[in-house]
């Protein structure tokens, strides 16, 4: 459905996307996870025809985006990161215009506009000009414009940024519905949890390069099935570190006076041993969190950096 092969996009010296390859299937949500400036929007731009790839190929539904653009874009829906709305027009007028642009018409256009407005919770403000909307309302309408025509391929560029938690849940629900209805969804985000909750497969991208690619389980396996244990309290870092060396298969990730992070296999079974070792150094543990291998930990492992939110 979406095939990206050796995609490269440079702006002069700067290489925004560097030899990226991935493919996304219908009926599933493919995530593109990466920090600011990773090249997510640039990738989406190359898919939507807004940007011309420097090299490599991008195909949507089997059509090359550069050579056969109109055909490739026929089934495309896009929710750009930057708003793309007519401020002077109402929500309804915006939806009808974009819907009609994709070939909806007549009663279907009207029905779908009303339905989508209901879904994003803007039905009661539908006839107001967009310039009177709040930021979050605009975001929701921006989303609505992208799904108006029930696209078979949906590109979503951080659609939930700036949206309140309730609306966010609703938007994510909508994304799942699109995929369930058979759409191929490409979802970019820098929110780890969102990617974890939503995506069937994903690519982690950093500095324009795909550094990890696979299903959530496959990516977790790359972590070597180790859990992450966070302990907060008061520690003597060198002493605590030395004490934990003695516990089987524990790796220190962070050791600070108030925070200790360790990667450990089968953490729940080893907790008593860990607490005992720490107590012997006079450490005081106030809070403990145990998390399964996560994308966060994978990102840290792959790049040595945290993927900040």
């Amino acid at each position: 459905m979406i095939e990206v092969q050796h995609l490269r996009k440079s702006y002069g010296e700067l290489v925004a996307v560097d030899d990226a390859s991935f493919h996304a299937e219908p009926g599933a949500i493919f995530g593109l996870l990466g920090p600011n400036g990773a090249g997510k929007s640039t990738t989406i731009g190359c898919l939507s025809g807004l940007l011309k790839p420097s090299s490599g190929s991008v195909r949507v539904l089997g059509h090359d985006v550069v050579r056969n653009g109109v055909a490739a874009r026929r089934a495309l829906g896009i929710v750009p990161q930057e708003l793309a709305l007519y401020d002077d027009l109402s929500a309804l007028e915006n939806l009808r215009f974009w819907g009609a642009a994709y070939g909806l018409g007549g009663a279907d256009l009207k029905r779908r506009a009303a339905e989508v407005l209901e879904l994003v919770g803007l039905a009661d403000r539908a006839r107001e000009p967009v310039k009177r909307y709040s930021g979050g309302m605009r975001r929701r309408l921006n989303f609505a414009c992208g799904v108006m025509h029930r696209p078979r391929v949906l590109l979503l560029d951080e659609p939930t940024v700036g949206v309140d938690p309730q609306s966010r849940v609703r938007l994510l629900e909508l994304v799942r519905e699109q995929a369930a209805a058979g759409a191929c969804v490409l979802y970019t985000t820098h929110y780890m949890e969102e990617a974890q909750d939503l995506c069937d497969r994903l690519a982690i991208i950093d500095h324009g390069k795909v550094i990890a690619l696979g299903t959530l389980q496959e990516l977790r396996d790359m972590m070597g099935a180790r859990d992450l244990l966070r302990l907060s309290g008061t520690f003597d870092p060198p002493a605590a570190a030395a004490a934990l060396e003695g516990v089987d298969r524990v790796e220190i990730v962070t050791a600070e006076p108030s925070l200790l992070i360790v990667a450990v296999e089968g953490a729940s079974r080893k907790l008593p041993a860990i607490f005992a070792a720490l107590a012997a150094t006079g450490a005081e543990v106030r809070e403990t969190t145990l998390s399964q291998p996560s994308l966060e930990s994978l990102f840290i492992k792959l790049t040595g950096r945290e993927l900040r939110e």
Partner: protein
């Protein structure tokens, strides 16, 4: 086709959401047509208004202003200088004048600097019609002065920049040179205020011996119409920057349509706005200036056609700058000379011959010249067809080129 229509409707809706600029665009020919009708309606002798002028500024400019309508130049104005406002008021109270115009101190300098300044017109409350005529005349003069300021202000300011920083004033030689050119310009402008005279003398009247008012319409109206056309073209062409800023251009690029249709929507929307202007123009021509109704349909069509074509040129100009400000500067640098040369400020008939010759080669100049023929009933079908082709072909190229540029770096990276 349906997408083209959707785009056009969308752009028209957006225009209607901003009625102020729409009214302004339509209002330009209406306002000026209305002003002209004030001067030309009625067959009897024009009543003369006695106006007192208090010149507190005593500058070159205020002197010119006083001259513009004074000393027997205008048939309906009779200007007399008085020393002080108090003296003027006393004279008005005595029923000696219809109105008094006060040119405040610093008027000339403010005019050159383009800072706001006020001319004060005191109307005699005991008279009803004449003071209003005076008011209309002054309003028109201010209108003209506004454009003159646009045209002349910059060189004048530069001139000032050459003089010592803290010494207000200009070197004598420079003042003399500028004064001569302003004098000429003002003499031309003053003819606006004295329309019956030039209207009679300079127009080659149509063979059907139309009324004086009709020849007056022929002299000025076409230029006014295309002044509006140029403003509208500039405004509609600028819209691509709005589309870019709002992100809607980016979304439009991702549609399964050629962007030519998207831009075509703007072309159609523009032609609708042009049609509204053309309708106003031919209505004024027919109702106010007694142009035979039979001539109006083709004059209307001509205005819409050439107006839309002129928009295409301005559309292409938008891509001459890499930023909105840059592009607007380029198009403003084009629009004012185009108006000036194309017969929108002064009719070709009063321009120096070389200037009129050059102006007629501009698309808008050509459009103005042929519209005059159409309104006068002297249009030669052959010349009209050639003019139409000469405008349409480059306009079509400009449009297609614009559509190409729109989808390229303009939408994506720039």
């Amino acid at each position: 086709m349906s997408f083209l229509f959707q785009c056009a409707m969308k752009d028209l809706r957006r225009r209607l959401a901003d009625p102020v600029s729409l009214v302004l665009w339509l209002g330009i020919p209406l306002l000026i047509g209305g002003l002209m009708s004030v001067f030309t309606s009625g067959d009897g002798p024009v009543p003369k208004a006695h106006v007192l002028l208090v010149d507190e500024d005593q500058s070159l400019l205020s002197g010119l202003l006083a001259n513009a309508g004074g000393e027997g130049r205008a048939d309906f104005l009779d200007i007399e200088r008085v020393a002080t406002e108090a003296e003027g008021r006393a004279r008005m109270d005595a029923g000696d004048a219809s109105a008094m115009l006060v040119v405040p101190k610093g008027f000339g300098a403010a005019f050159i600097d383009g800072t706001p300044t006020t001319l004060r017109l005191v109307k005699n409350p005991s008279e009803r019609i004449l003071p209003n005529i005076v008011q209309t005349a002054v309003e028109m003069l201010v209108e003209v002065a506004f454009y003159a300021q646009r045209l002349l202000g910059e060189p004048l300011r530069q001139l000032r920049g050459q003089t010592a920083d803290d010494r207000p004033g200009y070197p004598d030689s420079a003042v003399a040179a500028v004064a001569t050119s302003i004098n000429q310009r003002m003499r031309q402008l003053s003819r606006w205020l004295n329309p019956p005279a030039i209207a009679l003398q300079t127009v080659n009247a149509a063979p059907a011996a139309p009324a004086q008012t009709s020849s007056f319409a022929l002299l000025f109206l076409p230029g006014m119409v295309f002044m509006a056309v140029l403003f509208i073209s500039q405004g509609m062409a600028d819209d691509v920057w709005d589309e870019k800023a709002q992100g809607t251009l980016g979304r439009a690029v991702s549609l399964p349509h050629d962007l030519t249709l998207f831009l075509g929507g703007k072309l159609v929307a523009t032609s609708v706005v042009m049609a509204a202007v053309a309708l106003v123009a031919v209505a004024v021509a027919a109702l106010v200036f007694a142009v035979p109704i039979g001539r109006t349909p083709i004059a209307f069509a001509w205005c819409v056609f050439t107006g839309t074509a002129i928009y295409c040129f301005f559309q292409l100009l938008q891509f001459a700058g890499t930023t909105r400000t840059g592009a607007n500067m380029v198009s403003t640098m084009v629009v004012f000379p185009a108006m000036m040369l194309g017969g929108s400020f002064f009719p070709f008939e009063v321009m120096p011959r070389w200037m009129a010759g050059a102006g007629r080669w501009l698309p808008n100049g050509q459009a103005v010249a042929r519209l005059k023929d159409l309104l006068a009933g002297t249009a030669d079908p052959h010349a009209l067809a050639i003019a139409a082709l000469a405008i349409a072909v480059p306009a079509a190229i400009a449009f297609l080129l614009s559509a190409r540029l729109l989808g390229g770096r303009f939408a994506g990276e720039a």
